[in-house]
Amino acid sequence: MGSFKPVLLRNRGVENSRSLKVYESRGGYRAVRKALKMTPDEVVAEVKKANLRGRGGAGFPAGVKWGFLPKDRTTTLLCVNADESEPPTFSNRVLMENDPHQLLEGTIITGYATQAQIAYIYMRVEFHEQFHILQKAIDEAYAAGYLGKKILGSDYSLECYLHRGAGAYVCGEETGLIESLEGKRGWPRIKPPFPAVEGAFRRPTVVNNVETLSCVPHIIERGADWFTGIGPPHSTGPKLFCISGPVNKPGCYEAAMDITVGELIERDDMGGGMLPGRRVKAIFPGGVSMGVLTADELDMKMDFVDPGNHGLLGLGTAAAVVVDQDTDMRMVLRNVARFFGTESCGQCTQCREGTAWMYGIATRMEEGAGRIEDLDILLETARNMGMMPGLSICGLPDGATYPIETIVRKFRSELEEAIRAQAPGRVEAVLSAVN
């Protein structure tokens, strides 16, 4: 703990931090020069050694992912996943707003490491201002010779295109993103083949998250040993954390992955504690799809390992939202169920139908017509639709069921109490209206 010197957010708050000039004056684009003097394999090896795990949610090591590219390939594409859609996550937005050139530098180095010819930045359409910020940065980078033909006089060339999504959560899944990029419905693909073998336009493709790529220049410049010196061995490097809900200072903060959920809420340089009169009742620490913690679990470490010890799917996007003591968990359950019911792409039956059923049940419960057995139906549905039991094409249903399952399991007594307190006859009235 103690004072953490920001790495990814070091330029936040600096005047004109978005401009190439300021970025360069603060040491920017030095890492590209260094990388271009290394061989691509040396760059990959350094990132592997740093154990840079993907920041987009799954935590897969980036260097290993790059290693899956076939050796005999002739074309390689790089997709930058800027489709940040997981509620309540906004760290990629903060990075792109404050330091677009940091992302571009990471993209160029990764492009070089993987020998990509084209980089597509796939950005969610709701990012308006950010689209223009990044486009301006791309234009500046082209003009300065960091992008385009023969970058900085080397033999390496990279074209970079900014591509806007059209509003679909599932396009954050890498093969959904690829389909959308190709101008189709954002339906995730069956794997294998994995994108590294056959991705966008049937070419070998690497997909990496904005924050993951933003880490790359720092690894190259300061070395893998510096990176692994930050945080625990399984969760290396600087990390962005979001905190929102009824706290004093909702926002995006940077730290090593050795902080606890409680610290993220309480620390003065982070959430700054709960608003007056509000107490933590529940918290979704890694984006809603990872599942929920109770107020007794605030000692959970925000790293890649500890969330699993608390029945969560993972660290996710490391974006926490706090639920206070006056919020009815039935309302939270319904809110989460609705989101995934809306966002299921509809390809896999059990996800399409399962999320819709869970939303239906959660809605009825919130309207005061729940049954005790509904809780078991929710748990059973949740167990039978994800990628983990090997039933679905992508991980969306896992993300849909972890919050439902953890809310029901960890807040069961509250939910049961609410059901027992319902007006008599409500259930029968509602169910007979349905039938």
Binding site: E86, R164, G165, R185, V321
Partner: protein, 165 residues
Amino acid sequence: MTAAENAAEIEALVAAHRPERESLIPILQDVQRKYGYLSEGTVTELARLTGVSANEIYGVATFYTRFRFTPPGEHTIRVCLGTACHVRGGRQVLGEFESQLGIKVGQTTNDGKFELERVYCLGCCALAPVGVLDDKVNARMAPKKVRHLLTKYGKRDCEKDAQTR
């Protein structure tokens, strides 16, 4: 195509993109930006120009929340009910918009001035709850801010009301 749309304009929008399948979504976005929505006539015209069937264009467009097939209100209000906004009172804000405008979510006012949508997470949760008017994000919304905001965007009976106060 309606009278407001024009085959030559649509052709120019399509011609600005590479003649590849992956240009479809950017083309649809440009067309919608210009006309506010994708009319049946426009989609037919796009099918002719791109060689992608109207059926498939609808297939793609309906997948994404951004595309719409009916004319929008002059101003679009999007109230966020993502988890962070929800726990900080987004629903009350939405309710206030509904009662001030006299419409339900998903509807447009009779004068075509405002339409009300509900969205789920816009990625600015630290500002929760938010209400987006056209493309401007209004942070930390509260029911009592709704009237003022609508007045600013030209809701007439609000103006009258405000003057008599």
